[in-house]
Symmetry: C2
Subunit: 191 residues, 2 copies
Amino acid sequence: MPETTPAAERTRRAILEAGIEVLASNPGAPLAEVAAAAGVSRSTFHRYFSDRSALKKAANELAVEDWAAAVQRARLGEGTGLEAYRRLCAELMDHLPALVWWMSIAGSEDAPAEYQDEDETDQQIAAMLRRGHQDGSIDPELSVEWISNSVWAMLYAVYFIPAEAKMSRFDARQQALRTLIKAAAADPSTA
Amino acid sequence: MPETTPAAERTRRAILEAGIEVLASNPGAPLAEVAAAAGVSRSTFHRYFSDRSALKKAANELAVEDWAAAVQRARLGEGTGLEAYRRLCAELMDHLPALVWWMSIAGSEDAPAEYQDEDETDQQIAAMLRRGHQDGSIDPELSVEWISNSVWAMLYAVYFIPAEAKMSRFDARQQALRTLIKAAAADPSTA
DNA sequence: CACTATTGAGACATATTTGTCTCATTATTG
DNA sequence: CAATAATGAGACAAATATGTCTCAATAGTG
């Protein structure tokens, strides 16, 4: 049984998504701007999120959920390292906004301190990449750290494709995926 | 003959660089934060830049200069498309702060409107990539738009390597370069 | 239609940021 | 050392952002 009506839930969601979008590119943006982006009055905004920190907290929770779910679905243990890597990249591309948000606050003081979960997930990914090094599917010249890092960069690139580029989201996703696989593969002709 | 003393020039430079660094990740940051990052009082800050827009303007000018200079030095016309592309990437890696700043304001209202220069430079790069498509050195599956875009993403990735990654700037630069070339190459084994 | 939930407009006090000044102190240089 | 340049501390008013309210209007539902 939901504690809130569907309408309220939709509104909350809209504000949250607008918040992620706006604050990801400008963390200090006035809350009025977030409200406007959500198509809602400042009053309504504060009804759902008492203040800035409440909004950030909710955004973090969403990001953590999306992140964990994507990694889960990628089934990192199956197949070669490269195959698992490909699945992971594909899954991550389906949660761009929350992950770009997550990324944008990564180093800052807004980043949630607790998350031991995150560490654990990072470990799984690192293990998957190392497996790829060992089974010969992933380029030994590229470090585990760098490959992880470049995945985030590509997510960012897809999310912020400049308007001038005139690429569809679909094309961008496609080519980003190809770029990531090809770059990471020991034998790039398989990409 | 300089209009200002060397000391003043150094201070101006320090503030400008601090501004680029701070505002690139938080465009709305209080100017006091920029001043602090530059190791300067708020008074001094305003002595050099009357207001926020003056700082942004100067940052834009620096970015345009760095950008144009880097492209210039890459000698886009020489060699195969891929060779020129490699030179370009290497040059760009040497101007990370200004270019990341440039990137961070790309779509926003802060972006300078005029720059026909930018268009021209973009044309040169596009031409270089097309040449790479024709001479068979660059992967025909990846569009000119996407390759350009992914270069920016890698610059971003190198600039914001998370502290946890424990990679030196040098290693990051190295691996980013390898990643870019490998991804773009028609025959990635040459990377 | 009546009833309730959700919303927007706007007033409001408070807090933060901004840009301008003045004045005393600290480099820098000839 | 003396003269000039550069800075920091802090006061100040104006502008902007924040969070809390109240009240009237507007969905949405039975």
